[in-house]
Assembly symmetry: C2
Homo-oligomer: 366 residues x 2
């Protein structure tokens, strides 16, 4: 049954709850609610306990929940009762004595509202419990991530096939999202970056009304939001004009750094060591200070989630984790190169989910 995986995930919550001394968890982060139920809407909380599991939502979502979460207990609150008061009522009815709540997403007003409405229970702040479960993806999640990768890569093939010098960065970004949607994505997983020349030196460049022909290369950082909310995230550079020796040199350094990073992705490797392996290639080439961000981040239902691949994170990688590997070299005034793939940690190493061509001769369109 399709719902089995959600039951399994909620059982994971229950196991972890014991350790924090709570007999239920009120899940207030909407993405965590999706992870634990399959419900894709928002404005809904989930109560998880041994005796009761209840999705607390409102009338707008009644039909959708019945479709997406067959068999799940649902409380549809009336318009006049807020979501916090409704959650307190459900927790009281379930006779919860120690109610855990997600203190990293619950607002101060919401927690005060709970405290006032729920005199019968102790409130226990619980931080990042569901996020920890989400670190390692199950088979259905990996399949959904692969789907989002395919949508992104097919969209990028259209971009390459249609790219013209008289398009602006902004038009290319908009057309890319439109293409990904034609392949089944609900949209972009984040606002795509399309940046030519010097603008590519900004890691978070916003597309402008500037022509693609205004420079000799363009950096594209994009991803698809798949139908069940799982996301992809890639970066490629395309050469659209003159091939310069400087670009080729920097590109090869970044590619070698990226390949070194990917080679180090395996169970037991510390995040900081994967970062260091890629960083060393860039440092050895003399560009260490020009790679001013972490190597990558986890991705799944959120475009940025754990684990973080950077110099501070000592967490060890485990099978099922999915991370981006995206080193870059940025030279203000000249431009930047970043190459990004999505990598699954497997039992005995890794599996690169993305496959858009990235050898230097493959990125030259001119």
């Amino acid at each position: 049954m399709a719902t089995d995986r959600f039951v399994k995930r909620r059982n994971g919550v229950l196991r972890k709850l014991k350790a924090v001394g709570a007999d239920a968890l009120l899940v207030t982060n909407f993405t965590n609610v999706t992870y634990l139920t399959g419900f894709s809407g928002d404005d809904s909380f989930l109560l998880v306990s041994r005796t009761a599991t209840v999705l607390i939502s409102d009338g707008r979502y009644e039909t959708q929940i019945a479709d997406e979460c067959p068999g799940l207990d649902v409380h549809i609150r009336p318009q006049k009762i807020g979501i916090v008061a409704a959650a307190a009522k459900i927790a009281a009815r379930a006779k919860i004595a120690n109610l855990g709540f997600e203190s990293n997403s619950t607002t101060v007003d919401e927690s005060e509202g709970l405290r006032t409405a729920l005199k019968s229970a102790e409130l226990v702040p619980v931080s990042g419990l569901v996020e920890e479960l989400r670190l390692c993806k199950d088979a259905s999640e990996v399949a959904a991530l692969r789907e989002a990768v395919t949508q992104a890569e097919k969209g990028f093939e259209v971009l390459k096939a249609t790219l013209r010098g008289e398009q602006t960065e902004l038009q290319v970004a908009h057309d890319l999202e439109h293409s990904m949607r034609s392949f089944g994505a609900t949209g972009s997983s984040f606002a795509p970056i399309v940046a030519v020349g010097a603008h590519a030196a900004l890691p978070h460049a916003t597309p402008r009304r500037v022509l693609i022909s205004d420079a000799d290369f363009v950096l594209v950082d994009w991803g698809a939001d798949g139908p069940t909310g799982y996301k992809s995230d890639l970066t490629r550079v395309l050469v659209t004009g003159k091939i310069s020796a400087k670009l080729e040199k920097i590109y090869r350094v970044v590619l070698n750094a990226q390949l070194a990073g990917i080679r180090n992705v395996r169970p037991g490797a510390r995040c900081c060591d994967v970062d260091a392996a890629a960083r060393k290639v860039i440092e050895d080439a003399g560009f260490g200070k020009k790679f001013n961000h972490g190597l990558g981040h986890g991705l799944g239902l959120d475009i940025h989630e754990g684990p973080r691949l950077n110099s501070m994170t000592e967490m060890e990688l485990k099978p099922g984790m999915v991370v981006t590997v995206e080193p870059g070299i940025y030279l203000p005034g000249w431009g930047g190169v970043r190459i990004e793939d999505d990598v699954l940690v497997t039992k005995d190493g890794h599996d690169v989910l993305t496959s858009s061509p990235k050898k230097f001769d493959e990125i030259v369109l001119s």
Copy 2:
């Protein structure tokens, strides 16, 4: 100077702060930060006090902040220091004794983090202060809303000009967003609803892979996200097949209800009374139970903000408020009709910002 309006808004915060006994406000809601500074990014807090106004952000946004907020004091935190710790440092440096913080957007973990890092100050929960200022739009905001309306309406004209029976709801929704972008929108202000026939009976229908030709009419609920973040929100029904007497009857009732609602939008009118004026028309026609949501909501930087036009809200309208007026009649199994416009409260009445044709003969495309 373009920054004047932001100084004016921050002065509004200072005036309201006195009443709550705080000498500074830490703004943690990113949309409120945008409202008070013009900075369009996220992951940034703002400290507002009489002696210091500081935007707390990180390296990714340094260039963008310099562009968007000339003259504003900025603290760029290093990667290793979190945003809460950075904010505490800035508040301590400014010698704040009573630090207000937005308790309706600050998480429990963030407020605990502040408490730990900032021993020198009392923390004062402050709820909805900036949201209250945002209720009444100034001239620049109204201009931005008008821009978002134009982008949405131009996109809809393209939709009408290109609509074909062999398109799916989903394709029409995607093409609509693409069109709005070609007119300068950054995207949709929310996922557009395109729903034919019976599906239009769901107030929050998700577009499907179902052909436009599968029914005789289509409901479109859409809006544009303008370049500075202000949003529009409209609904129209289009007749694409047979004109039925039932549809025409229901349409005319909804339109009369909507016009009655709009006529009642003026300074001093209570929100509940505006709702009642529209609702009465639908009730008198015998469809009262088929209009199962509030009449409308405020809009601005958020697609849903105050004031709410519904039967429970007694707030009086004031000049500068902008609300949607969107009654509907929903008949499960048959379909639904909703008509929505965006209306500005003026000194002596109202100004309807939207102008897409809505007379019955104007919505017949077949």
